[in-house]
């Protein structure tokens, strides 16, 4: 099974850059993490509207689009369906031994799905907590922010790689790669 990506980093990188330019021309720079807040805002507003409106952070985002979906939310839904299409067309859909556990993880940490799900979940909590505190994630801050030469986005980029590299080296200490 060939595990190398379908596109080289050169082709994918240039395509990504062109897409970022297009997005900035027709709408705004690419960003993902706001859609998570928007989802939380919509769900909370559906279950308990008063609770959602009372929360300063949720209402800041919720009221802007009447507690409904917006351009940025559809963009994230698009990411999902774009990957469905490209992975099915190139026959890479679920291209792992176990759809829950990455092959590299399985070689080093075993085949337990629950253990992998727990790490994926906890990682997700930290990702979005950090992204919301920073005001953006890998796309909105690092890619879009740095390409607009935003000072804070350089700080964010350096910080995520500093702690990401340290954490990865710790997790894979003594492992054979």
């Amino acid at each position: 099974m060939n595990q190398e990506p379908v596109l080289s980093w050169k082709v994918a990188g240039i395509a990504l850059g062109l897409l970022m330019i297009l997005a900035t021309a027709v709408a705004k720079p690419l960003g993902v993490s706001t859609a998570y807040v928007n989802t939380d805002a919509m769900v909370t507003h559906t279950i308990a509207p008063d609770k959602a409106e009372a929360n300063e952070y949720l209402s800041k985002y919720g009221e802007k689009n009447s507690w409904s979906i917006d351009y940025g939310w559809m963009l994230v839904i698009g990411i999902f369906f774009g990957a469905v299409v490209s992975s099915v067309v190139t026959k890479r859909f679920r291209a792992r031994q176990n759809p829950s556990v990455p092959d590299m993880w399985q070689q080093n940490f075993g085949s337990s799905s629950q253990k992998r799900w727990l790490h994926a979940f906890v990682g997700g909590v930290l990702l979005l907590f950090g992204a919301r505190l920073a005001g953006g994630c890998t796309s909105g801050h690092m890619m879009s922010g740095i390409s607009q030469l935003t000072v804070g986005s350089f700080v964010f980029g350096i910080a995520i790689f500093a702690s990401g590299i340290a954490t990865a080296k710790y997790l894979y200490r003594g492992k054979k790669l």
């Binding site: 596109l7 917006d70 990957a83 030469l149 910080a159």
Partner: protein, 173 residues
């Protein structure tokens, strides 16, 4: 109409991430372990193309720029938290959505965790307002810092990123 535009741009984004290997646990961890440079080179190339392109568009008054505020302490701490999540999950907020789209079940748990993390932040937001106003320099870019037209920085900056990607960074197995 705006919603359909979002969907279309998102689909292109998701396809590029998936086809380029950015939604692959192995490629992301390879980058964070400083072994496999492909994802780093992909991101640097994308930023290089976009930096010149966006500021060239801006010259024609066609760019809808969105400069995020720079609050150094808060963003630094946020980045350190994010980085741990990046290495523990092997995904980021966008690539986990693309990974879920290619049938990776663990990525669904990262999305779920992300919804919980964003909710936790919404609950704790009042506690972080002080941190966000601390060392806050507002919407500044390096063009503002140096007092020059952005393209004077964009062109050499992009050239450095392309040099890194195409010449200097090598896989390290």
């Amino acid at each position: 109409m705006k919603l359909l535009l979002g969907l279309a741009i998102g689909m292109a984004f998701g396809a590029i991430l998936q086809l380029g290997g950015a939604s692959s646990y192995r490629k992301i961890m390879g980058a964070l372990l400083l072994k496999d440079m492909a994802i780093i080179k992909l991101i640097l190339t994308g930023i290089a193309v976009a930096t010149v392109g966006v500021y060239a568009l801006d010259l024609l008054d066609l760019a809808n720029l969105s400069i995020k505020p720079t609050y150094l302490a808060g963003i630094g701490i946020a980045g350190l938290i994010f980085g741990v999540g990046f290495a523990v999950s092997g995904y980021c907020p966008g690539t986990c959505v693309a990974a879920a789209g290619e049938g990776k079940v663990d990525a669904l748990f990262t999305i779920l965790g992300g919804l919980v993390g964003a909710g936790l932040y919404a609950i704790m937001y009042p506690m972080f307002k002080g941190l966000i106003s601390h060392s806050n320099y507002g919407q500044i870019t390096f063009a503002d810092v140096f007092g020059v037209d952005p393209l004077w920085l964009a062109v050499p900056f992009s050239a450095i990123l392309l040099l890194l990607s195409f010449k200097l960074l090598k896989d390290n197995y």
